[in-house]
């Protein structure tokens, strides 16, 4: 059931990122939906399954970009692996609803930022350009902050929805 929910959410994130991202603008930045899902996978899925979903989400993200496939896939795999290594299994697998909002925000922000910087730096390297740290970070921090803000709103909204009965069943089956 958990994987079915992730599959549905992956498709939803793909559709939103491909077609509806521009309708959400916070301070001239728009959020990315696939990294939100990636953060959720990193926190709520364990072991090889998490790596599998990271690869799928990364590949889909690559398909929306114009450059070579595999860049975001590689980034997503490594980022999820690092997050998995640094969050204890208990903290990760126990009720994801109990993970503090601050921790969620931190994970989401760092994952998005690292993913953006990694993929952008890789693209610059592949196209033979020099990497300048300042513009690279300044252009990605805004997107990561925007993604985190929207991600937290989605999370809070999701928690409220889970309190409603039918959603509770989905939540329980996910956990």
């Amino acid at each position: 059931m958990k994987h079915l929910i992730i599959a549905i959410l992956t498709y939803l994130a793909l559709v939103l990122q491909a077609g509806w991202r521009e309708s959400i603008v916070i301070g001239s930045f728009s959020p990315l939906f696939l990294p939100m899902l990636l953060a959720m996978v990193a926190v709520t899925v364990e072991g090889p399954a998490a790596i599998f979903w990271a690869a799928i989400i990364g590949l889909i993200s690559d398909c929306l970009a114009a450059e070579a496939l595999g860049i975001e896939m590689l980034g997503a795999i490594l980022v999820v692996f690092v997050v998995q290594k640094n969050i204890s299994g208990r903290q990760r697998i126990s009720e994801n609803a109990s993970v503090p909002l601050g921790l969620w925000a931190m994970i989401l922000f760092l994952m998005t930022e690292v993913l953006l910087v990694f993929s952008r730096a890789m693209r610059l390297l592949i196209s033979g350009q020099t990497i300048e740290a300042n513009p690279l970070f300044s252009s990605t921090v805004g997107v990561a902050a925007c993604t985190t803000t929207v991600g937290l709103i989605v999370l809070i909204f999701g928690k409220l929805m889970i309190r409603v009965l039918p959603w509770r069943i989905i939540h329980d089956s996910y956990s």
Binding site: L34, G47, F52, L59, A66, G70, R120, S139
Partner: protein, 334 residues
């Protein structure tokens, strides 16, 4: 995490990384196929979300009284845009009549009255919705990065990638690579890749876009068609008009249309205005920059031109085969 699961996890990371690295070296054709498949898969969800959004908006409009008062400024701006369009149409008509008059003056008028016949090829326009420019691609390809150096320094080359906006029409609508794409009377670009249900567009401003173009300029006798050239996308906001002979009169403010002589466009469609025209001493051609009408924000819908054999000419056999832009005629049922 137990040692066993840690090992499994590490092994899965190695395998996944190897696959990702493999994708990096995937041939271009295979990558395009995968990318197109994913984009095609988005379409049902995109339509579903569009329907939900439409329903939601109509429901919200019932409850919230919509402010229908249009400001004078907005109304004037709309009127101005309409008049600008009408003016452009009249200029073009003027140029066409001037051309016909010049031809008649040169060749004379036939003493015989010719019967008007149905043309062999007829054009038809297909409406396509711009399928949301993938925003992740936008910032990578520069649409968002171009907003300022703060957001885009160092990635200008990525602006020049040939992946453009996505349309919700593809091979199922018998689209083919190279079909021209319009936004109203303005050229938006051409079809670059065709998927089963979707296709991507190469905008006129994209690097790699090249098409015949013609200058329309004002003279004492009215508007006339001027020199022919080749309009080329630069990847920047301006296009370059090349191969315009130095002997042709060109000035800033002249308008650039598609060249009807090239045979691709039945009616001249608008590209934009000349914003820079420079002629170096001894040069054979002008250096011309054109400011295209299409902006960075894609329109909600575009029209794609395709041709087919006139059913009136072909009604006896019932054959209505499609003609590609390369005027390649597919064989049909006899």
């Amino acid at each position: 995490m137990t040692t066993r699961s840690a090992k499994e996890s590490l092994l899965s990371v190695f395998i996944a990384v190897a696959i990702a690295v493999g994708f990096l070296f995937l041939p271009q054709n295979a990558a395009i196929r995968i990318r197109t498949s994913v984009r095609d898969a988005i379409l049902p969800g995109h339509r579903l979300v569009a329907v939900v959004e439409e329903k939601f908006v109509s429901l919200a409009n019932r409850w919230i009284q919509k402010d229908t008062t249009v400001t004078d400024e907005k109304r004037l701006s709309e009127m101005h845009a309409k008049q600008e369009l009408e003016l452009r149409r009249l200029r073009l008509e003027n140029a066409r009549l001037q051309k016909r008059l010049a031809s008649q003056n040169h060749l004379g008028v036939s003493p015989y009255r010719a019967n008007d016949t149905a043309p062999l090829l007829v054009e038809e326009m297909i409406q396509a919705r711009v399928f949301g420019e993938e925003l992740s691609a936008l910032w990578k390809t520069g649409w968002l990065l171009d907003k300022g150096s703060r957001e885009g320094v160092g990635e200008s080359d990525l602006v020049l990638r040939d992946e453009g906006p996505l349309l919700d029409q593809g091979a199922d609508s018998r689209l083919e690579t190279g079909f021209p794409v319009f936004a109203g009377r303005t050229v938006y670009g051409r079809i670059l890749h065709v998927g089963k249900w979707t296709s991507s567009v190469q905008r006129v401003t994209d690097r790699g876009y090249r098409s015949h173009a013609q200058i329309v300029r004002k003279t004492g006798a009215g508007y006339i068609f001027g020199a022919l050239g080749v309009l080329q996308g630069t990847g920047d906001s301006l296009c370059r008009l090349e191969l315009v002979s130095s002997e042709s009169p060109v000035k800033v403010g002249d308008e650039v249309y598609t060249a009807s002589e090239a045979g691709r466009f039945p009616f001249p469609m608008y590209y934009g205005k000349i914003v820079r025209a420079q002629l170096s001493p001894g040069a054979a051609h002008w250096e011309i920059d054109v400011q295209p009408v299409i902006g960075k924000t894609p329109p909600e819908a575009v029209q794609i031109l395709r041709r087919r054999i006139n059913p009136l000419r072909n009604s006896s056999s019932g054959n209505t085969n499609m003609i590609s832009n390369n005027t390649h005629i597919h064989s049909g049922t006899p």
